[in-house]
């Protein structure tokens, strides 16, 4: 196993991930049932082609990573501050809460909870005020999409009444 140059580890992971993605595409192309209908080009051709393309560029990226990678040359990466786990954690919690609550409580409440958590992730220290702003924003978004654009936003507690 060739030794990976310092700083190129993440790039190598990306390259291998892309190879896997390509193989996944080829596998999914292989399981497409063969059509009884006549066609010059069947439904499998394009997926095979795309799978081959992705696998090939994935191998290319892996080769570049083994030779030192590309992301250490990026200014944005070199100057990047350390990972902000607090912000990422709170943001992830916000998305998860939204995902878990939206079916039972409805959009307005779930998205308000998300709003408060996301605002906290980006450094807001006044959850009470964010709650108020969040309700106004989500409710406004609901009215705009449901009433003006005519999008059905499901039947949550509040949405059912309106």
């Amino acid at each position: 196993m060739a030794r990976v140059k310092p700083g190129a580890g993440p790039d190598l992971a990306v390259g291998l991930f892309v190879v896997l993605l390509g193989l996944l595409c080829i596998w999914q192309a292989a399981v497409i049932p063969v059509s009884p209908l006549y066609a010059q080009v069947g439904p499998k051709f394009m997926p095979y082609l795309v799978g081959a393309l992705v696998t090939a560029v994935g191998l290319g990226l892996t080769a570049v990573a083994l030779r030192g990678g590309w992301s250490r040359d990026l200014e944005e990466v070199a100057e990047a501050p350390p990972t902000n786990w607090r912000a990422l954690g709170l943001l992830g919690a916000g998305l998860l809460v939204n995902l878990l609550l939206i079916d039972s409580l409805g959009f307005v409440f779930a998205a308000t909870a998300q709003f408060v958590l996301v605002a906290a992730a980006f450094g807001s220290r006044r959850p009470g005020r964010d709650l108020l702003i969040g309700i106004i924003v989500t409710f406004g978004a609901f009215l705009a999409f449901d009433k003006l654009l005519g999008v059905n936003i499901g039947a949550g507690i509040l949405e059912g009444i309106l």
Partner: protein
């Protein structure tokens, strides 16, 4: 319809109260989202797509184009006052614009970019009006084989020629093509790439992908790298330009516009290259008296030229979109999917079958330009205030709209999970410098390319050589190969010589 009767008809239609209202709404919304860092026209138009079920095609497209043009105007405000470019085309504007703002000349910088955008937008729109019908004339001679080759060329240029690396661009494109394959194959009815998940049979909605890439991924990335602290918004100050500022701006406006438009029209679209070229040109052409201002106190030429180039290139992108049905930017790709949602087949026939729509749209582009320059200058105080929305609430708000736009598609939690999944991928794409636009373009154009390929092969009765025996198709494919390997070959030759 020829150009003049087309334009006459278009203006007659576009000047109705309803259509003027759509244009005004689009311009206003577009400027606001252009000013706000973190959201761009692609995301906004994607979120507005449901409007296609309620409003006539004409109204919806006038709105979309207003947003598209407005975002270009708004983007420069952010570059100048905040020194953070809202989109790739404004990076160069930030160079000189932010320096002018630091020296108390934010007003003239905003003024020259607004008027420059107007000049370039009008020249660009004139270009669309007169070039469009000519391209259509040529395009009508193309068959499915040529179309497929043209799409291949488009894939190559948007992914491999623009941006930092061909490998990474092609990876993004491949990812988009994969997403585009998900769902039932229209020709044979077979499910593809669905992993047995029934929710995926209908395919992945373009709104979901756009929101994941441009809202969720971006927000995740910013949280990853978040550092507490406030950004400083510069004061606008005196807005008017002096007589000398005018004299110094006119040349750069015109040169920028003439440089930008052809870049937008070519499938190698994108706004980075023309804005950069315009910047270097102005730096060279500036009168010696002002040369020292570049890079120090900020030179007005360095704002006027690139800003004009940016707007003209953006207008140019509409030419391949309206005449060939080829999108060369993420925003154009999403607009193309709006055509599909009306059941309108984009392509050269658009000018004949949907002539009324196309000419009304073009006329409303002229109107939007006038509205924008009128709207922008007196309201600049309002736009500067929008910039003061604090980051926490801004990104929390963006995610609210991301949620509603996605959940509204079919009220399904599976969609939300997919949104977050692609959002996480998009976050890593940002970190590892993979471009986002090829994903959207691959997803929309991929299925169209597959259809064209199958049609071409049906016509040729399965003969694959049809793509290289038809002369036009061969030429386009050779161009695509050159675009792919040309730059690399050049580096090798240059390295040998050195």
């Amino acid at each position: 319809m020829d150009v003049w009767s087309g334009l006459a008809f278009g203006f007659g239609n576009a000047l109705s109260i309803t259509n003027l209202g759509w244009a005004l709404l689009g311009c206003f919304l577009g400027t606001a989202i252009g000013v706000l860092p973190g959201i761009g026209p692609a995301l906004t138009i994607a979120l507005l797509l449901p409007i296609t079920f309620k409003v006539s095609a004409t109204g919806a497209f006038i709105l979309f184009c207003g947003v598209f043009y407005g975002a270009m105007y708004g983007g420069s405000t952010t570059s100048i006052l905040l020194n953070t470019p809202g989109e790739s085309g404004s990076i160069i504007t930030a160079l000189e614009g932010a320096k002018m703002a630091r020296n108390g000349r934010a007003g003239p910088a905003l003024f020259t970019s607004a008027v420059g955008s107007f000049v370039a937008g009008t020249i660009g729109t004139l270009g669309i009006s007169f070039l469009g019908p000519i391209v259509v004339e040529l395009a009508l001679k193309l068959g499915p084989a040529e179309y497929f080759s043209l799409m291949v060329l488009c894939f190559v240029t948007v992914s491999a020629v623009l941006g930092g690396s061909a490998l990474r661009g092609l990876t993004s494109l491949g990812f988009g093509l994969m997403i585009g394959l998900i769902g039932i194959d229209l020709q044979t009815g077979q499910p593809r790439m669905t992993f047995g998940v029934t929710e995926l049979l209908d395919g992945v909605d373009v709104v979901l992908v756009a929101v994941a890439l441009f809202a969720v991924g971006e927000t995740l990335y910013l949280a990853w790298r978040h550092v507490e602290g406030k950004q400083e918004v510069r004061e606008v100050g005196k807005l008017m330009m002096s007589r000398e500022d005018w004299k110094r701006s006119v040349g750069p406006w015109l040169r920028g516009a003439l440089l930008g438009f052809p870049f937008g029209v070519m499938p190698a679209g994108g706004t980075e290259m023309p804005t950069m070229l315009s910047y270097f040109a102005e730096r060279r052409l500036v009168r010696p008296k002002y040369r020292d201002e570049f890079g120090t106190t900020g030179a007005i030429e360095g704002v006027a030229g690139p800003e004009a180039a940016n707007n003209a290139a953006a207008a140019g992108v509409l030419v391949p979109m309206l005449t060939l049905g080829l999108p060369t930017s993420a925003t154009a790709a999403i607009m193309l999917s709006a055509f599909q949602s009306y059941g309108i087949q984009p392509g050269p026939l658009l000018f004949t079958t949907q002539g009324e729509l196309v000419w009304t749209l073009i006329a409303s582009l002229y109107i939007a330009n006038i509205m924008l320059v009128v709207l922008n200058l007196p309201l600049v105080g309002l736009w500067a205030r929008i910039l003061k929305i604090p980051t926490p609430q801004l990104y929390a708000g963006i995610l609210v709209f991301a949620t509603i736009g996605t959940y509204g598609i079919s009220n399904s939690v599976v969609d939300l999970a997919l949104l977050y999944g692609i959002g996480i991928v998009a976050m890593f794409m940002r970190r590892f410098d993979f471009p986002q636009a090829p994903v959207v373009i691959g997803m929309i154009l991929g299925p169209m390319a597959e259809q064209a390929m199958r049609q071409a092969l049906t016509i040729s009765q399965g003969d694959w050589t049809t793509f290289i025996t038809r002369p036009i198709s061969l030429c386009i494919l050779v161009l695509a190969v050159l675009a792919l390997i040309g730059p690399r070959l050049w580096t090798v030759i240059a390295a040998r010589r050195a």
